[in-house]
């Protein structure tokens, strides 16, 4: 049943993505509206699927890769929809929805067996730490997408190519402000994720920080984002430089999230 619901979710997300892309090309507003509806429908079914899995497994479903990707896609979708309700950043859907779809596909192709929870993970810190971290990932992914849009638009204006792409993307300042907004909400979540993680580590292994690869890399990521925010606030960094920094930070985040598990195994590897 959970699996069926997740497939249904994926279909809704794919339809939404198609809608946003069609909207990007034809600029038809009605298509965008339908795409947004599909995304809301997808989110609803997705929520059901996560809740059902929680009930049948008995622990919060943020343990295996399958579950983590599913939750991340869910958080990303929710973050985007809430963000769009407030800001209506045009063309963002066409950038975010493919990522939501991609992450959902990653989730669907992972082994879906429910595994017994290893004793170390059996703690109420698991849902707190994991969900906070994944929410920060979702928000930072948003700021990554907006930064990409910024760089594309910046290039169009600098090179004076004022064609179709230029017309479809929002203004530079809007993009910059919105990327910053996502960063400013995402970063505290990231910080909180690391803090809760270290508290949990103390409870589980007896030490707050043990330089495990995952910990090291999340610290690197945190430092990159901290530096970026610092520069933005003190020196007034913005625009291209800030966008590049956001992208570098996101790549570090990606490595922390997935890369570490594959290349530098440690205590943090997801159950599989």
């Amino acid at each position: 049943m959970t699996e069926f619901l997740l497939h249904l979710t994926l279909i809704a997300y794919i339809l939404a993505t198609a809608g946003f892309l069609v909207n990007l090309i034809t600029l038809r507003k009605d298509v965008e509206k339908f795409a947004t509806y599909f995304l809301w429908a997808g989110l609803f079914i997705h929520t059901l699927s996560i809740l059902l899995r929680w009930m049948s497994s008995g622990h919060p479903p943020i343990v295996s890769f399958h579950e983590v990707f599913s939750f991340l896609a869910w958080a990303l979708c929710l973050a985007f929809l809430l963000f769009q309700m407030g800001h209506k950043l045009k063309a963002l859907g066409a950038f975010i929805s493919p990522i939501i779809t991609l992450v959902t596909i990653l989730s669907v192709i992972q082994p879906k067996k429910i595994l017994p929870l290893p004793p170390v993970l059996q703690s109420y810190w698991l849902p707190i730490h994991a969900s906070i971290s994944l929410i920060s990932y979702a928000l930072l992914t948003m700021s990554f997408c907006i930064s990409i849009m910024y760089l594309i638009q910046e290039r169009q204006i600098k090179k004076k190519r004022l064609g179709a792409i230029f017309k479809r993307l929002p203004s530079l300042q809007t993009l910059d402000t919105m990327a910053e907004k996502c960063l400013k909400i995402g970063f505290p979540f990231l910080t909180l994720g690391i803090i809760t993680g270290s508290i949990w580590a103390e409870k589980a292994w007896g030490a707050y920080w043990s330089w495990d690869p995952k910990e090291t890399w999340s610290l690197i990521t945190w430092l990159l984002y901290a530096a970026l925010l610092h520069q933005r606030l003190t020196v007034g960094w913005r625009g291209k430089r800030s966008a590049y920094m956001t992208i570098i930070g996101f790549l570090a985040l990606l490595f922390t999230f997935i890369g570490v598990t594959y290349f530098l195994p440690g205590a943090h590897s997801y159950a599989s």
Binding site: Q153, I157, K158, K160, L162, G163, F166, P170, S171, L172, Q173, T174, T177, V235, G236, W237, R238, G239, K240, R241
Partner: protein, 454 residues
């Protein structure tokens, strides 16, 4: 139930920027008259309804008339006389459209397809106010009411369904559009004019209407700067203060006559840190250029010179032309709808005449027959009444369906034929008298619009 005989035929006579020079257009606008010029045409015997449109680019009489040629002659006659334009000159520079082409013309004018700058929206407002005048003076009737409202909705449809008006087609406007793509919302942003040329002034005005909150004006002669800053509502500064001002402002419009660069790259490199790297947009409309183009390479700085802006404008114009093709297609389909409405106007009086005639015959014959049949009870009376009614309606059913559904080409013929066969001539006479009444009474319009609801 008054039968409203519509004017039916639509006639447009007019001049625009393409057909007549401004001297002729001025004269034909009849601005010197004491009464509204529309009255002049309204009083012509062949003119049933009229709207008089007069803008700086066009003067037009849009009329609902009884008969083309006499109406045309009357309008040309009185117009040339009052405007004091020789008739040959007048005919040479005017266009005259009738029927379908007149409808098309009105739709095109309303949608700004006939404008000097295709897609500029002012004309719609001008047409609306011309119509309002006509409406208030009681000069518009059923046909023109419908035509005008249709024209307004066509214009709106074209505006929303094509991108005909979404492109900036003047340099100053293009500059503002670019500023919006850089800064998003312009409110809270500040601009500086260096040099006080006309085009710079225009661009500044556009920026102000788009919500810019602060304006500085720098000029070689301070008097001119002060004068301009007064008209635009800004602050005048001297050229020496420009460098400091560059730290503050977001948009710079430069148009001095200086031979070299007025804004140099080193200057800008120096100020970006004190500016806290805020975006800086240069609009350089001076020839030779005022702003070093290499400033464009500095992070968060954008420089557009006049040639680049011109290129934007040219591309946008081409885009508008493409969109205009789409708009013409929309107009084609709307003309068909309007024409079918027009032709439906003819059918109604004929159908009604047919029904009335049949009904009166039925009643007359029924009373005659019933006089001789005295011993009928109520039930039988009812049956006979019913019989006559259904005979009439069954016989009329096919001709009425034929009238309603017949294709538009032979509709006229069919109407005439049916009127003749059933000798419905009385209808036309009655319509004539009603027409005259409505011509003199002020609430023509109300009546017409209620009648136009089928």
């Amino acid at each position: 139930m008054p039968l409203d005989m519509p004017s039916k035929e639509i006639l447009v006579i007019g001049v625009n920027h393409k057909t007549a020079p401004v001297e002729v257009r001025e004269r034909l606008a009849l601005n010197q008259m004491e009464n509204p010029p529309i009255k002049l045409f309204w009083e012509l015997p062949s003119v049933r309804e009229v709207v008089f449109l007069s803008t700086c680019n066009r003067v037009e009489v849009i009329a609902g008339v009884k008969d083309y040629s006499s109406a045309k002659d009357e309008i040309v006659d009185i117009w040339t006389k009052v405007a004091q334009v020789p008739t040959e000159n007048f005919l040479k520079s005017t266009y005259i459209y009738k029927g379908k082409e007149a409808i098309r013309h009105v739709f095109r004018v309303a949608s700004s397809l006939d404008s000097m700058v295709v897609g500029e929206p002012q004309i719609l407002g001008q047409l609306k106010s011309a119509y309002r005048t006509a409406h208030e003076l009681g000069c518009s009737g059923q046909i023109l009411n419908k035509l005008m409202h249709k024209a307004f909705s066509v214009a709106k449809k074209i505006r929303t369904e094509t991108r005909i008006a979404s492109q900036a087609v003047s340099i100053s406007y293009a500059a503002v559009e670019l500023a919006k793509k850089i800064f998003g919302d312009l409110s809270g942003k500040s601009a500086m004019l260096i040099g006080a040329g006309e085009m710079a002034e225009l661009a500044a005005q556009h920026l102000i209407t788009n919500g810019i909150s602060e304006l500085k004006v720098a000029n070689r002669t301070l008097e001119r700067a002060i004068e301009l800053s007064k008209t635009l509502g800004g602050e005048a500064i001297s050229l020496a203060e420009v460098e400091d001002a560059l730290i503050e402002v977001d948009i710079v419009i430069s148009s001095t006559g200086a031979p070299g660069f007025v804004v140099k790259k080193e200057q800008i490199q120096k100020i970006m840190r004190p500016r806290r790297h805020r975006l800086l947009f240069f609009i350089d409309i001076a020839v030779p250029r005022d702003v070093d183009p290499e400033i464009n390479d500095i992070e968060n700085c954008y420089v557009f010179d006049i040639d680049e802006l011109k290129e934007v404008v040219e591309e946008n114009k081409a885009e508008r032309q493409k969109e205009a093709v789409k708009a013409e297609r929309i107009i084609d389909s709307e003309i068909i709808k309007f024409k079918s409405w027009l032709s439906s106007l003819d059918i109604v009086p004929v159908i009604r005449g047919l029904q009335e005639k049949a009904e009166s015959i039925r009643k007359k014959e029924l009373t005659k027959t019933l006089k001789n049949l005295k011993n009928l009870d109520e039930k039988e009376l009812k049956a006979i009444e019913k019989l006559t009614q259904s005979l009439v309606s069954k016989i009329l059913h096919d001709p009425i369906i034929f009238l309603k559904k017949g294709n538009s080409e032979n509709k006229e013929e069919a109407l005439v034929m049916i009127s003749k066969i059933f000798s419905l001539n009385g209808i036309n006479e009655r319509q004539e008298t009603l027409k005259k009444q409505s011509h003199s009474c002020e609430d023509t319009d109300k009546k017409a619009s209620t009648n136009g609801q089928f």
